[in-house]
Amino acid sequence: MRHRMAVLIVIAAAGSTALAYGALPRRPGAPAPHLLRVCSDPNNLPFSNRAEQGFENRLADLLATELGMEVRYTWWAQRRGFVRNTLAAGQCDLIAGVPAGYELVATTAPYYRSTYVFVTRRDLTPPIESIDDPRLHRLRIGVHLIGDDYAAPPPATALARRGIVRNVKGYSIYGDYREPNPPARLVDAVAKGEVDVALAWGPLAGYFGGREEVPLRVTPMRERGDGPGVPFVFAIAMGVRSGDTALGRRIDAALDRRRGEVRRILERYGVPLVTEIREAT
């Protein structure tokens, strides 16, 4: 079947200076700023943490500057109850990253698109690029386990469809929250040799893949998905409360005006970006 979409994938080198960024200075003498109240996970790099070292923290700063506001965080682990206890409870007004069309919030236009990736050691050649690579039947594979419903990350579902289960090891997406950035254990597992290949969400892999002691390779999945309902590529937007159209519009406009800087921030953090190019029919 002929693909009507061509995919251009841009992988930026993981920015080693990302951690050096601090909060932007505020203009002296500016009028008392409105608050940009952001709902954020205090322990989940590369997205965010309490020290404000994540790319979503950078984006919040960027938006606040653009909108003449001041960032104020509500910290909450981004897992069960996150939206209910933060945005829906009126504790904060903006979630910096959710899938486009996420039903629990009103989403802005997507500001990036990424994909699930293969993470391997550099010495595994040639690189694995396809879910149909025959080596996946024998290599030790790590995936995230979502856990609390029938769901699995889409690549895990695709593996299961191919009967690849016996050599698949699950890593809890929740992990142990006492450790820093618990979902990163999946990438650590490749570096430690617990598994040969991890199927991970791009931003996580792009960031931590460049920070392990062992050189790792991050390769976007060639396929965009495994049929209807099993996408590997997701568009990510920001979320506001349903009905909060005023803020939604301002965020949309600000993201659009500063799209160059948004992209540079994502690239600095090593987010594998997928650009969609629609072919003429």
């Binding site: 030790r140 386990l145 609390d148």
Partner: protein, 664 residues
């Protein structure tokens, strides 16, 4: 308002037993009681033995169709037990959630009868100050009532005579624990023994509190919310040990049960339900009945590599105890992760019933009710220990109304399934093969990577946690349960910890008949339903049945009901403040009168979804159950309140002989 015999206005009308399940494979079966099964914890064994033995004569003496049976049996009741009553209030107490080790939830109290129960009036009430789902059984011991609330897990002691608050203990349960709990922040209650009250907190502590003073005696941490663990079950205390287990099978937890020393809280033993035999405490004494349960390290080999480490098999339900052989019986939860495609194999020892040596924890046998569970059919429901005469032979059995929809009768000495018949509409399996013990799957209703519609029962099962009761007088099991089916299909994008995925979309709906709940009487000997009452919502409350032949249960649309144990006729009902998902209990007050107590406060998995209290990232729960419960907010709002009822008129005898029974 109390509304005696207001049956016309109520949708819950008894109906006749279904044709087609009238006959069972046991032609001449009778329930016979073994007094040892009914040993009250901490009470005089001998007295109860005699009580129960004479109570067992009841069914033979009864007159068929006698609507006012309570009264006519009143004299028999008095004759059987009056001289044998303990001097104290032992028989009038309710010290563990199930009342007795056999988990019958049967009370020999008979002041309140089928005849006089319309005279039941509110005696006193108490607000817990907590809004979430109240599932606990009030515990009655030593002149006080002990009530555990949902998170933040306050423990209240109330004076039985006055309803006065004696003390309140706040364990300081971590706020973050709420985010880990799968299905509301419930607690199923406390246990009492020797002046100590034991209970579990949502953030994984077992606590012992001095019953008199409310002072903490010990508090031990047994699990970690950061790994997805919580604790919600009511501990069982037997002798010098307290038995507790964890919750969180949905969260990639590794399930366990542990025995703690009652005086120190020190761990005596802990058994896991996945992993190598050494961890499961499987050794030379382990003799499972079925070959599929035999073999080395099945807790490892029936999983993909290392998956057992997040394999669920938690213990959030009920534990029974057989003092004759010193064995505990209980079951384990669904396997993790939920998506069955990720875990080919039987996934032992999830969804399994275990018999263990109560002192050492050594496993004696196990039986897995849902190998490679694809429907969230946890195996934690109560096991009622009875003696059944089957073709002339008395078998010591454990009866389990399963989440799978099958009523299992299991030889509790060997683990052999003697029968397993549906007690409602079941289509996920065509039956249980008694030769192998395994379900005969209906391929059309399997989940995994494909869509399937109208799977019955739905994920909460024919019956979830809500415990049944058994009356030795009628020989019937009283089963509060669900009538729900589900559709399973692919869903919308979801997001956890910055990782997008596609959640499954599960939608539950009412099963055949359109009602969502059922309260039924089941004859375990004949393996048939005797009568049943249809309810609008799932019957998510526990139940109690008494020697007055009255059975009590509550509904999510705010009725607390008394029905005739023999006929199912509605005898009395009372409109409480919030929907009921708690467990009724009955006891003798210091004034010698019989009381009935129940917590109202809607919530739990069934309630919280519709009331907007559920973790919204979980489409299965938020959308799945909520889909079947959208009209709940039109019937009830939240609010934790204890209600205590007694017959009208202080000091008035309830009924002839029974009323003369008094306690000093």
């Amino acid at each position: 308002m109390a509304d005696a015999l207001g049956a016309r206005a109520d949708p819950a009308l008894p109906r006749l037993p279904k044709a087609g399940i009238m006959s069972g494979p046991f032609p001449a079966v009778r329930v016979r009681l073994d007094p040892r099964d009914f040993t009250l914890p901490g009470a005089s064994t001998l007295v109860l033995v005699l009580t129960m033995l004479s109570a067992a004569c009841g069914p033979d003496q009864r007159q068929p169709g006698d609507q006012a049976g309570g009264a006519s049996r009143g004299s028999a009741g008095a004759a059987r037990s009056e001289p044998m009553l303990p001097p104290g209030a032992d028989e009038g107490e309710w010290t563990i959630a199930a009342r007795d080790y056999a988990s019958t939830r049967y009370s020999p109290l008979d002041q309140i009868t089928a005849r006089n129960v319309p005279g039941l009036r509110l005696a006193w009430s108490f607000s817990t100050g907590v809004l979430r789902g109240h599932e606990a059984a009030p515990i009655v011991a030593d002149g006080a009532m002990y009530v555990v609330t949902p998170w933040p897990n306050y423990l209240y002691a109330l004076d039985l005579a006055t309803g006065e608050q004696k003390w309140k203990y706040d364990p300081g349960t971590m706020r973050a624990a709420q985010g880990v709990a799968c299905c509301d922040v419930v607690n199923r209650g406390a246990s009492y023994a020797d002046g100590r009250v034991f209970f579990n907190t949502l953030d994984n502590h077992t606590v012992a509190v001095d019953a008199k003073s409310g002072k903490e005696l010990w508090k031990v941490k047994l699990g970690e919310i950061n790994r997805g663990e919580t604790m919600t079950m009511a501990p069982l205390v037997v002798g010098d040990k307290v038995y507790v287990g964890n919750s969180g099978g949905e969260m990639g937890v590794r399930g366990w049960i542990t025995a703690l020393d009652v005086t120190s809280g020190e761990i005596a033993w802990r058994a896991y339900h996945t992993g190598p035999d050494a961890d499961v405490l499987i050794g030379p004494r382990f003799k499972p009945f079925y070959p599929s349960h035999q073999g080395k390290d099945l807790g490892v080999t029936t999983w993909p590599p290392d998956q057992w480490k997040v394999g669920g098999g938690t213990v959030w339900g009920w534990i029974s105890y057989d003092p004759e052989v010193n064995v505990i019986y209980y079951g384990t939860s669904n396997p993790g992760v939920w998506n069955p495609a990720m875990r080919p194999g039987d996934n032992k020892w999830s969804t399994s019933i275990f018999a263990r040596d109560a002192d050492t924890g050594e496993a004696l046998w196990a039986y897995q009710t849902a190998p490679h569970d694809e429907h969230d059919y946890d195996g934690v429901n109560e096991l009622i220990l009875l003696n059944l005469e089957i073709e002339g032979q008395v078998r010591k059995v454990a009866v389990r109304p399963g989440r799978t929809g099958f009523m299992y009768v299991i030889d509790r000495r060997t683990g052999e399934v003697l029968s397993a018949v549906p007690y409602g509409y079941v289509n996920w399996a065509k039956g249980i093969d008694l030769k192998t013990g395994t379900p005969i799957f209906n391929e059309e209703k399997r989940t995994g990577n494909r869509a399937a519609t109208n799977i019955c029962p739905a994920a909460p099962g024919m019956k979830d946690w809500q415990p049944s009761a058994f009356s030795p007088r009628t020989g019937f099991l009283y089963v509060p349960h669900n009538n729900l089916c589900m559709d399973y299909e692919g869903g919308a994008a979801a997001y956890i910890a910055g990782t997008p995925y596609v959640g499954a979309r599960v939608k539950m709906h009412a099963g055949p008949g359109g009602h969502r709940g059922v309260y039924s009487a089941w004859d375990p000997a004949a393996q048939r339903e005797v009568w049943s009452i249809e309810e609008r919502f799932p019957v998510w409350s526990g139940t109690v049945v008494t020697a007055g032949d009255v059975a009590f249960y509550g509904t999510m649309d705010r009725w607390f009901k008394a029905v005739h144990a023999r006929t199912g006729d509605l005898l009395w009902q009372y409109r409480v403040g919030s929907g009921i998902i708690g467990q009724p209990v009955t006891y003798l007050g210091p004034d010698g009168r019989q009381y009935v107590a129940i917590l109202s406060g809607v919530g739990g998995w069934a309630g919280a979804a519709a009331l907007g209290l559920m973790p919204e990232i979980d489409p299965f729960i938020a959308l799945g159950f909520a889909n079947a419960m959208t009209d709940l907010p039109q019937h009830t709002a939240q609010g934790g309140m204890l209600y205590v009822f007694a017959l009208e008129g202080a000091g008035q005898p309830g009924s002839g002989a029974a009323g003369q029974r008094s306690v000093r």
